[in-house]
């Protein structure tokens, strides 16, 4: 058996470690932590650079496109789809042509908004990035506010993109064989249509913001993106089930006013509150499984118009509760990540 001696790695003086570069200073700079607007700009920059946000926006538009395809399918199935009293006929034709894809596509947008809220806050807690932010002296309330403002801007962008896409797509309805020049186009836009569409947009925006708050708050409480998103999704899926069970329980226990109150309180946020009465009944009856459990609730077997006051008040209460909890916890709790 041959033996080899110990060898030691040879040190090569020809390849020393590179000398570190010279560090310069930034003389005379006095720094302050960024204010709310600077932080908001920073958050928007982060969102702009995040591919996932763009993918979600694309997914949201895909939902609208899918809803539009369903609309086209039903419109072309009947020869009188574009006559008054039918799917896309009459005075509300343009409102329906733009509003319905948005309404049907909105459900997907709710999940996206909840996921964004969960990722934006829980992600920083999970990865520990939050300590880098707060160790720079950033005011916690300002940071939270900036994050919400940036995410709200994304929600607004989602609604706007949905509106633009629906508004563009509606013009192609005229190409359907049975439209015969009766399909609505943007040329039919008038005051009442504009107001109705503004209601659709505002209601959708309000809804997205509440879903965003829900995802964000749960992720702040749990300090986990996954838990925040799962809980928010659980609510969005479970609400349809719960909203149908609660009235039944209320009836069987003879406490209908109480069950109505609970239902209103819990689920009015998910209404087509601003435009429930603009939906055609045949569409609304199908919507109860998709969207708007109160507006088109199962016990009433029809769409109910919710007052504008309630449309504002209930979401406002929810926003205050969710916002208050997240602000309190974010400011008061130690950063242990």
């Amino acid at each position: 058996m041959s033996q080899t001696g110990w060898s030691t790695p040879s040190f090569s003086p020809q390849s020393p470690l590179p000398a570190p570069p010279v560090i310069s200073t930034l003389p005379g700079q006095t720094r302050q932590a960024a204010n709310l607007w600077q932080l908001t700009y920073n958050e928007l920059y982060k969102l702009w650079k995040r591919r996932l946000v763009w993918a979600m926006l694309g997914l949201d538009l895909f939902f609208v496109l899918a809803a539009y395809a369903v609309l086209v399918f039903y419109s072309s199935k009947t020869s009188d789809g574009f006559t008054a009293g039918h799917l896309l006929g009459g005075a509300n034709a343009l409102t329906d042509g733009i509003g319905q894809p948005m309404t049907l596509g909105r459900r997907g947008g709710e999940f996206i908004a909840a996921a964004l809220g969960g990722l934006a806050f829980g992600g920083e807690f999970s990865s520990g990035a939050i300590r880098l932010v707060l160790s720079r002296g950033v005011n916690r309330a300002s940071y939270l506010g900036a994050k919400f403002l940036a995410l709200i801007a994304v929600c607004a962008a989602m609604v706007l993109a949905e509106l633009v896409m629906s508004a563009v797509l509606v013009n192609f309805l005229d190409l359907l064989p049975n439209a015969h020049g009766h399909a609505p186009t943007l040329l039919n836009l008038n005051g009442p249509t504009f107001l109705a569409l503004a209601g659709v947009c505002f209601g959708t925006f309000e809804n997205f913001v509440l879903c965003l708050l829900l995802g964000a708050t749960v992720s702040i409480i749990s300090r986990s993106a996954a838990f925040g998103i799962a809980a928010a999704f659980g609510y969005l899926i479970g609400e349809d089930i719960a909203a149908q069970i609660i009235p039944v329980i209320g009836k069987s226990l003879h406490v209908v006013p109480l069950s109505d109150f609970v239902n209103n309180l819990l689920f009015t946020t998910n209404l087509n509150a601003f435009y429930a009465n603009t939906l055609p009944k045949f569409l609304a009856s199908g919507l109860d499984r998709l969207d708007g459990v109160i507006a088109c609730n199962t016990t009433a077997k029809a769409c109910e118009t919710v007052s504008t006051g309630q449309s504002f008040l209930v979401p406002l209460i929810w926003a205050l509760i969710l916002g208050g909890v997240s602000v309190y916890l974010f400011i008061k709790r130690d950063v242990l990540q």
Partner: protein, 300 residues
């Protein structure tokens, strides 16, 4: 520059940090040593306003941190444990974002920092593709971004390969030469003694020793003696009053006697018929001092 006054943090009945009084002067490189769970990271988090102290106060640049974090913390650069950036952004974009927290940093400075930490070539790559060492270097880059007066580094050598550790050490030396005040925590003593001018040793949330590295080393007196009969030598040396401790390690007699001279030791052994093969002053290294202090405090 940095001062803590009776800094205390408790979680329920457990005291993570207990009445810590620290003072770090301008231009000092202060090593904050302690075993895992000693309260180093909790202390650093309180220095950075991430954790609110139960009692006590942190003063930065002579001002109370709790009163004015917005203007004090931007003057501090910090790397806390593992660096954590946005995984979906590139290294460069992450520095843009970090700069944005203190009102923005120009592109030239970002390039310069990437150059300093050796990430210029990889600046455009996503953070999620970085190795642990690269992430650590980007963390240091973020700490240097705004040219802070005080730099707080929590275990900066974590995850770095030997070459990276040498680079990091050089970087810290260079920063020290620029009269930056550096507060660096570590449990790797060899690392700390390379560049720290003063160290503090913490255990169970309490500062148990503080002083200059040389001062601490001078107070130590570790000798290693190679003899044929180590047991006999141990028996002989144990009763000698100047011996703080006598033990056997890997066949050698190891004594702790800071006041004894080598020649006296050889003479005493020879007089008693033990001829040492070698007598080596280990000069009890920082590690032994650290272990001795922390063990003593723990009652071991």
């Amino acid at each position: 520059m940095l001062q803590t006054v009776g800094l205390t943090k408790s979680y329920g009945k457990r005291l993570a940090v207990n009445g810590l009084n620290l003072e770090v002067a301008r231009g000092e490189v202060f090593g904050f040593l302690g075993p895992n769970g000693a309260g180093k990271t909790t202390t650093i988090r309180m220095l950075l306003n991430l954790i609110k102290p139960t009692f006590g106060e942190v003063k930065l640049f002579g001002q109370s941190l709790s009163q004015n974090p917005r203007s004090l913390l931007p003057r501090v650069g910090a790397l806390i444990e593992q660096p954590a950036f946005q995984s979906y952004l590139s290294g460069r974009d992450n520095l843009v974002v970090v700069g944005g927290y203190t009102g923005g940093v120009d592109a030239r400075r970002i390039e310069e920092v990437l150059e300093i930490v050796g990430l210029r070539e990889r600046g455009v790559d996503r953070y999620s593709t970085y190795s642990l060492g690269m992430k650590q270097r980007l963390g240091v880059g973020a700490a240097l971004l705004t040219d802070p007066e005080l730099i707080i580094l929590d275990e900066p050598g974590n995850g770095l390969d030997p070459a990276g550790i040498v680079e990091m050490r050089e970087l810290i030396r260079q920063l020290a030469q620029m009269h930056k005040t550096i507060f660096v925590s570590s449990h790797i003593l060899a690392e700390i003694r390379q560049f720290c001018t003063r160290i503090g040793i913490v255990r169970a949330g309490q500062l148990i020793a503080t002083g200059g590295v040389d001062e601490l080393l001078r107070s130590a007196g570790r000798w290693e003696i190679e003899v044929e009969q180590p047991e006999k030598a141990c028996r002989l040396l144990s009763p000698v009053p100047v011996m703080r401790s006598v033990s056997m390690e890997q066949g050698k007699v190891v004594i702790d006697a800071p006041t004894i001279r080598g020649r006296d030791l050889i003479y005493y052994l020879a007089q008693n018929g033990i001829w040492p093969d070698s007598v080596h002053r280990g000069g009890e290294d920082l590690e032994h001092i650290f272990l001795r202090l922390t063990d003593k405090e723990a009652g071991l």
